[in-house]
């Protein structure tokens, strides 16, 4: 173990954490002690972990505040569900189908990430944030009036209504405007979710610690200094943004294959904010923190379900309290004073004195 350097060890801990959690959950599932409510949460949990990790790549590593992450999730979800719906009679193996859907969703989201990233990344700070928000809302609104159908002569697209698709009698409407997609095969499961988390971690962690990742972090820390040593700002920012969008698209595919019906209205501003909360609470730029925060905050409202009407209220209070505790100067001083390390350190010193 000595030969491993610190980052490799750190990364292995992250992978190990996910694997141990997976094995533990599988054992509990076999033992039958997991409530059906929690079972239903397993796939969304994986979706949110992937979203949080991918958003952390933009917010934490690249240093740009993005408020439109749900938009990429939306694009990926619809693209993936579309493909699955088209091929569900041809390919019957669920795992092959979702693999195909994940690839398509990730690719389509990456294209959107690239197209949106080129103009957006010219802006900075809060202006960039508002434009990503705007794109997220536009994607949601356009998907809401988007109709696509398929018949013998090919694919028909319309932005008006179902009738204007002009489908033949044997035609089949797949994306139906505000009603979205129904009948997507339920191909997602916890194992595929965990595999997607591992792939995401592999991509993101390797990127962060590569030469490209160092360039991205250099731009975040000091744009002008990075530019002056010859780093191509646009290229590296776009790289982080596109990879993040593509992973969000994959998460969307996972999400869409867990639901019988999917509407664009699910991918609004609130979803983007939810994911941003995971990233900030987990620690900006800290990938492992994002995973833990996503898991805890997804489970929290469910664990508080006994409190019924008060659960979202408590969630809000916990959110504010956690933020004050972790980020305010007073809270940080408090943690410094009563941190475990320091308390342990003191007892050690005390022992030495004896």
């Amino acid at each position: 173990m000595k030969k491993l350097n610190k980052t490799t060890k750190d990364n292995l801990i992250t992978y190990g954490m996910v694997l141990i959690a997976y094995v533990a959950v599988e054992i509990f599932l076999k033992a039958g002690v997991v409530s059906s409510l929690l079972q239903g949460l397993l796939v969304p949990l994986c979706v949110y972990v992937v979203l949080a990790v991918s958003l952390n790549l933009v917010v934490g590593i690249s240093g740009e505040l993005s408020l439109g992450h749900a938009g990429f999730m939306c694009v990926g979800a619809f693209a993936g569900a579309f493909v699955s719906n088209c091929v569900k009679d041809v390919i019957t193996a669920g795992s092959v189908r979702i693999f195909l859907a994940l690839l398509t969703g990730a690719a389509v989201a990456a294209v959107f990430g690239l197209l949106i990233g080129i103009p957006v990344l010219r802006l900075r700070g809060d202006y960039l944030a508002i434009v990503t928000l705007a794109f997220g809302e536009i994607i949601k609104n356009v998907m809401n009036v988007f109709y696509i159908g398929i018949d013998g002569s090919g694919i028909h697209v319309s932005m008006k209504d179902k009738m204007s698709l002009g489908l033949a009698a044997d035609g089949n409407v797949i994306i139906n405007g505000p009603q979205g997609i129904t009948g997507t095969p339920k191909d997602s499961n916890f194992t595929i979710g965990v595999l997607l988390i591992l792939v995401t971690l592999f991509i993101v962690l390797n990127l962060i610690h590569s030469r490209d990742g160092r360039a991205i972090r250099a731009i975040r820390d000091n744009r002008i200094a990075a530019e002056s040593v010859g780093i191509n700002i646009t290229k590296y920012k776009l790289m982080a943004f596109t990879i993040s969008a593509s992973l969000a698209g994959a998460a969307g595919v996972l999400y869409s294959h867990n639901l019988a019906s999917l509407q664009a209205s699910k991918f609004g501003f609130n979803t983007s904010i939810l994911v941003l909360v995971f990233v900030v609470l987990g620690g900006i730029g800290n990938i492992r923190g994002s995973i833990i925060a996503a898991v805890i905050l997804t489970l929290l409202p469910e664990l508080l379900r006994a409190l019924n009407d008060y659960r979202m209220l408590i969630y809000a209070v916990v959110l504010i309290a956690m933020m004050l505790f972790t980020s305010s100067p007073a809270g940080m001083a408090f943690r410094e004073r009563f941190s475990l390390k320091r308390l342990l350190g003191r007892t050690k010193e005390g022992k030495e004195e004896q």
């Binding site: 802006l123 202006y127 508002i130 009036v145 979202m312 209070v317 933020m323 004050l324 980020s327 100067p329």
Partner: protein, 294 residues
Amino acid sequence: MSFLSYLINGISLGSVYAIIALGYTMVYGIAKMLNFAHGDVIMVGGYVALTMMLNLNVNPVIAILVAIVACTVLGICIETIAYRPLLGAASPLAVLITAIGVSYFLQNVVLLIFGSNPKSFQSVVTFGDLQLAGGSLVISDEAVVTILTCVIIMVVLTLFIGKTKAGQAMQAVSEDKGAARLMGINVNGTIALTFAIGSGLAAVAGILLLSSYPSLTPYTGSMPGIKAFVAAVFGGIGSIPGAFIGGILLGVIEILGRAYISSQLADAIVFAVLIVVLLVKPTGLLGKAVQEKV
């Protein structure tokens, strides 16, 4: 004539956005933070006014005043509890998250008290619609009052910031907090005052909005909140005339887009225009470009 009436409706809706955006932009200018709970203050103002009028049967004028006072106090409370402790925080995102927390908190408190069923708001303006050009152009009384209120608020606020001591203190704090403190300005007090004014304006905006669009739920505030934020950025965030122009333009684009292009795509059109404006002029219509020092 229908174009004119759409235009006036747009200006009226835009005036509401402008009043909300003023609150956003003032808080941003002084504290450099996005106050996502601002939209929910609008909703709280609406509920306070509604309760006063329906359950306590008081005069609408008194109901409006009570709503303004309640929101002002709420604004100061939010600032003291959730934002002031984070003023020296390392990451500006920390404040954004507490703002979201406050937003969830307000929505859920109201949800617990009033339930999720939409309540219908009764208009506070009752002098009757204006009939112009022999009855072919009808301007609703709410639109007239909204536009007038917005102009008055705009003028008073500009005078307040330019001419009074407290207003100049705001300008000083937004320029340089440290230097302002050295000049003997009470920085925390000034920030609290900004929050108070912004929240009071939100109450006014809420009542005007609900008088024209009378459905009130705990989530009523969030979409106008986002739109007003967009308006503030549109005009150049931190600039008061910018918020005014941005708000009016946004309202007009939204109503005209809804009337002539597509009612479902109206929001998408608003956001698309915003993107185009920001790409051409990255600091908004009236925003000042900050020179970077190397």
